[in-house]
Symmetry: C2
Subunit: 136 residues, 2 copies
């Protein structure tokens, strides 16, 4: 899903960014409803996400826009976009390629709290060491 620039500007005016210029974004699998990831977007990354149809974030460590999956290939193709009643949270329904989480789990929410313990659940798509190179 890609939107036209004049309409994107209209939308950006509706969204409420916080005092750091960020808005929370929930990423949900468009097919099975699984919550895959949570992240913050700034104005520029939201604009780029809507223009390109690929979920894009702001990397504070690199101080630049970051297209999710641009190095790993694990891109997030946007299918549907929603905002909430207060206009201060976004929901993206996406097609997730391979996995959302850098750990190899398909979803970042693989830590399930059970009675007296935390268990890892969910589908592991790859081993972290095989995909992401160590940073120098």
């Amino acid at each position: 899903m890609k939107l036209q620039t004049p309409f994107i500007e209209e939308l950006l005016a509706k969204v409420k960014f916080d005092d750091k210029g960020l808005v929370p974004a929930i990423l949900q699998d468009a097919e099975n409803g699984e919550i895959l990831m949570f992240a913050f977007m700034n104005r520029d990354s939201l604009k780029k996400s809507l223009e390109t149809g690929l979920a894009t974030y702001w990397s504070r460590s690199r101080n630049s826009l970051w297209v999710k999956g641009e190095s790993s290939g694990h891109t997030q193709e946007i299918r549907e976009v929603y905002y909430d009643c207060d206009h201060d949270c976004l929901l993206f329904k996406i097609k997730q390629n391979v996995a959302a989480c850098h750990t190899g789990y398909r979803s970042c929410f693989f830590n399930k709290i059970e009675d007296g313990r935390v268990v890892e659940v969910g589908e592991k798509m790859f081993e972290e060491k095989d995909v992401y190179r160590k940073k120098d």
Copy 2:
């Protein structure tokens, strides 16, 4: 789902709260996977949520803990809890009584972005004026 206090303390030590002492929480329908609400919890409201099994938030306007639905009856019964790979976001799978949104929609994410327009989608469970009294 209610947890025992010693284990709750263990969990609270694992969760990373931000510089305002808050952690984002995604509320998802345990049955059909619909995203119902997004909110922030502080340490005390997360503790109370896990102790009582009812989603509880921190009201900045009232400066007090706020059990969701305590006046409207639209409580959120916690069925499952997850945290993400970075330990800085929570996912609650809940049984939502009536509706999550004060507007009457079952989900707060009723604004769907379509090509060139925003449309209201989703199930409206009540009219706002019939449930919430106006504040003086």
